[in-house]
Every structure is written in structure tokens, then in C-alpha cells.
Symmetry: C2
Subunit: 158 residues, 2 copies
DNA sequence: GCCTGTTGGTTGAAGTCTCAACCAAGTGAA
DNA sequence: TTCACTTGGTTGAGACTTCAACCAACAGGC
């Protein structure tokens, strides 16, 4: 950033960029509002529940969970406090590290997730996948991986 | 949503989806943190300044601005209040509609934008465009337009 | 043992967005 | 004129995220 020369965006890049921004916004909005309306939680909370439901014993260390959901420890901590209030998760002490905590999905939380998942998945499909060809889905994944790689994260492969 | 059958995501779709989510998050994070650090404003505020700088007379009706920046009237109103506190914009009464207001970029706001634009554009280029081939940029635009079309917005063409 | 640094996680304040309520002004009909 | 409806925009409360400060527990060196 010490450059004195800025490589401005070309007309085409400009348009691609603004269209992409709009893409992000409308999609986020579609996901957020559906989840908020039907389940009363933001999308970030939904991801927490999903990751926990997939973990062995439906429990996971807070730090690991924060890495998987791409949330800061602070954000995760606040989120878990809310989810705990609802009885959807529970925080359990960790036996091998007395500093640590395990977030655990409760049965009630699991049932809640089962209830909200169909609506959310349907929404993802209708909002995104149904708008794209198989080829475009593949392209989008390549693009996503390229950017994630560049920005230093790691792709979420199983 | 009255369906009893949910079309769940395939393994491939699942991965594409999660990678895309990660893409969005890391990119947003890169943009947000750079702007916050260097200019002290969120990306949404930056877009307000940009749109105003491009408008004739550097002024625009609030509603039109909220449509262009894809923000709710409420969010825009709060944002403009903050920007006005900094002296970067000013709200002016509208002559042809006494309910209306024009948001106007001040000279100071314009200078501030000139200062922050290079860093932001450089960041957009390095975070996104430099990671993609020209072909991928084109693909991303097609994808974005398809989704925006589907979700009922309109693409931002000049 | 002690001392320092790092890691795991929480907390509170500040900032932003959403939602619903609200007001003022324009519009149209009776 | 009056009444009802819509549009333009603001406001305050509540919810989420970020940031910095913080505490407790681990780890390593002396």
C-alpha cells in the first residue's frame, strides 16, 4: 500500500464489482430474513447449530467452533450465551484443559434445528442454486476457493 | 414452502455452498477492516459517499440513495446522521417536495473520499480481482446477475 | 518454586442494522 | 373542505458484532 500508483478498476471491473456487491446483499438479505422470521435467529447462529450437530457427541471446543463458523471468539461467546438462554446449547467444562469449554447441542436444540433446516435449505436452493447452471455452481466454487486461498483462510473441506 | 419434500443439498452443493460462505466472509472482513482502520467507517458508509460523489451536484434524494446503496431507509437515515456529524455530508431540504431531503456530499466529505478511495480500491483489487482470471471475473458477474435477477432486484448498470 | 508469555474464553461498551412506531406532507375522492 | 391512503423520512429500542480489557489456566525457562 506504499504505492503511489493506484490501479483503478476498469469500467468492466467496476460493473462486475457492483453487481457482485448487489448479489451478496440480496442473497444475505434473503437468508437472514427467512431465518429470522421462521426461527428467530441470525444466519450465524444457524451455522453454530449445524456445526455442533455434525460434531462427534454434538459437542465441540469453543475455539474450534469459532474457526469452523468463521466467527471471532467474542462473537461466538455472545452467540452461545443467547443460544444457551433458549436451551438450544449448553456449555460444559472440558476435562483435559481446565480453561476450555465444550459447546454442546441439547436435544431441544437438535429438534429445533431439524425444524428449521428444511426451510433454510429450500431457501438456499431457491435463492442461489436454482438460479445457476451446474457449470456456474462449479465456477462459483472455483472462484470462492481462489479468493479464500488468497486471503489466507483455508477452504472448508470435510 | 408447503412442500413436504425438501430437496437437500448434494455433497457437491454442500461444499460449494460452504466455500462460498467462506468466500463472502473473508472478503467482507478484508474490506470492512481495511476501511474501518484507515477511514473509520463501515463499507456501507463508503458506498454512500461514492454514490453521492457520482451524482449530479453531488446530491441525491434519500430514497434514491437508499435504493442505490441497497440499504433500508432506516439504516440510511442513521448512517447519514453519523456522516453529517463528521461534516462529510449535509442534508438539504428539497424544493419540489417539502417532505423530501437531499443528501449532499460536502467538500470536506469529497476530500475524505479522495483520501480513502485509493486504499479501498487497492484492497478490492488485491483481495478479489488479483485472485481471479479475467474469465472468472466474467463468470462471477454472470452468476451475480442471475441471482440478482432471480431475487427480484435489478442489476446496477450505469 | 517463580516469572513470563501464550492460549481459552468472557465481559462491557460502543457502533451499526432492524423493526415498528411515528410524523409530516403529498394525493385523491367524496 | 374533509377523510383516507400513500410516500418520504426520522426515531428509539432491541439485537448483533467488534474492540479492548480482562481473568484463569497452561507452558517453558530459570
Amino acid at each position: 500500500m506504499a504505492d503511489t500508483e493506484v490501479r483503478w478498476l476498469s469500467e468492466e471491473e467496476q460493473k462486475a464489482w457492483r453487481t457482485f456487491l448487489e448479489f451478496q446483499r440480496v442473497l444475505q438479505e434473503a437468508l437472514q430474513s427467512q431465518l429470522q422470521r421462521d426461527a428467530g435467529i441470525p444466519h450465524t447462529y444457524y451455522e453454530i447449530l449445524v456445526r455442533l450437530s455434525e460434531a462427534p457427541g454434538r459437542r465441540m471446543r469453543m475455539t474450534q467452533l469459532s474457526e469452523q463458523t468463521l466467527q471471532s471468539k467474542s462473537a461466538l461467546s455472545h452467540a452461545c450465551a443467547r443460544l444457551e438462554e433458549r436451551g438450544w446449547i449448553r456449555r460444559v467444562e472440558c476435562s483435559d484443559d481446565r480453561r476450555g469449554l465444550l459447546a454442546e447441542l441439547t436435544d431441544e436444540g437438535f429438534r429445533a434445528l431439524e425444524c428449521m433446516a428444511p426451510g433454510h435449505v429450500t431457501n438456499v436452493r431457491e435463492s442461489l442454486f436454482d438460479a445457476l447452471t451446474d457449470e456456474q455452481v462449479h465456477q462459483l466454487r472455483q472462484i470462492s476457493e481462489a479468493v479464500v486461498r488468497r486471503l489466507g483462510g483455508q477452504t472448508c473441506d470435510g
